[in-house]
């Protein structure tokens, strides 16, 4: 027998205006900003590293690494020769528009596309508009195909979903069709790209979409 208690929902949406004005400014400066979100360890940095390497010569990519502590991710991105900056949130579990603005001011990017690699968290970052033009999320195979049921806001909010670590499929009971169905039930228009940043499988579809969305933004 299960009893269900509904706890009070706290709403924090004061940051929407800041985000809208940051987005306008970035559009004027010709910077296409993407907010990349996922649970800890889904492979955000690996995905970005692979994407940067694959698109070298086609488009300039910059990265803003947000972490509570440490700078291991910024060091990895830096090693690829991409513009990068490490933002420490000092315990905060998400990035908001104000923090994104401050980070961008420091980075002062010459890049065409900038990724904000958000804190590893499937919950809080979904509630805060960072001013990004697109929201992209990663779900990795080992996390399980039930995640859209449990963290629906993140799946609702994103324009694209990358299902990563597909090379690990033999080890996990992850049903790709079931996962896609669950995601589409809450977000019918989301683009879904299964891929492995380790082997490179499926990377091209995601990269084509990225370039296409950037060009759309440029010509808007």
């Amino acid at each position: 027998m299960i009893k269900v208690i509904e706890l009070k929902r706290t709403v924090t949406d004061s940051n929407d205006r800041d985000a809208a004005s940051l987005r306008r400014e970035l559009t004027e400066r010709g910077i296409f900003l993407l907010n990349l979100m996922s649970a800890p360890g889904s492979g955000k940095t690996t995905l970005l590293s692979r994407t940067i390497t694959d698109l070298t010569g086609k488009v300039r990519i910059g990265v803003m690494e947000a972490d509570i502590a440490s700078d291991v991710d910024a060091l990895s991105i830096n090693a690829l020769g991409a513009e990068s900056i490490q933002v420490h949130t000092d315990g905060m579990c998400h990035m908001d528009a104000g923090m994104t603005r401050d980070g961008l001011a420091e980075l002062n990017p010459k890049a065409d596309i900038v990724f904000l690699e958000n804190i590893g968290n499937l919950i809080c970052p979904a509630e805060f508009d960072t001013g990004a033009h697109r929201n992209v999320m990663i779900l990795s195979l080992p996390e399980g195909d039930d995640k859209p049921l449990k963290y629906p806001y993140m799946f609702q909010k994103c324009d694209a979903l990358l299902i990563t670590k597909t090379d690990a499929a033999p080890y996990f009971d992850f049903d790709l069709a079931v996962a896609e169905e669950r995601v589409r039930a809450i977000n019918p228009t989301i683009r879904i790209f299964p891929l492995s940043a380790k082997t490179g499988d499926g990377m091209k579809d995601w990269e084509d979409w990225l370039i296409q969305e950037w060009e759309k933004q440029k010509n808007a």
Partner: protein, 232 residues
Amino acid sequence: MNDSSFDVIEVRADLEAENDRFASKVRELTRKRGVFLINLMASPGAGKTSVLCRIIDVLSPSYRIGVMEADMDADVDSHTVTTHGAQALQLRTGTSCHVDAKMTLRGLEYFEAKMPDVLIIENVGNLVCPAEFDVGADLKLMILSVPEGDDKPLKYPLMFTVSDLMLINKIDTAPIFDFDISKCKDRVRALNSEMEIFPVSAKTGDGFSPFIAKLKRLIDVTLTEKRKGVSQ
């Protein structure tokens, strides 16, 4: 960031103080009723529910087990644990990203009539926020899974600092992930020298015996102390 056109009120300390008051009430209640309270924390998909089912299977012959499942908006885990023979209560936290002491107290009061010996809170899947909230638990148990990577102690230090016991789950997948267990242990112990670490696989059952033996000892010692205190 600094803008002199407005005032800043720090409310964080107040919130923490309020949470600590509720955590004390939780401790008082679990002492009085002889309950061992576990706060189980991990990232989404690290295997909390699978680990929980293994714990329930092994402990349920000796103890009455209750589970508080915290989820934003779902009750799939509650269904799973009830089929393993535990009493379950689903806490829907909405957009809240952690369980706090006040929610825990409310949950405990729900079990009032048939209080379990061991009550396990399956916290929201999140390696950040739950670490900040003391819920009054006797044991903070965390899980890190192999696919997440051995660098997580560097990135989410608070969770590793506040936890008492840690499982490294999904060790059956080690062949395909570059996870260095001894490097991970070093990183954890640099933050928390007291941390007890057990590599396990909830899928195969590997590594569970030493962990369960440790858990049983902790439960028995704590419950004996609590019950002795009450009868005096």
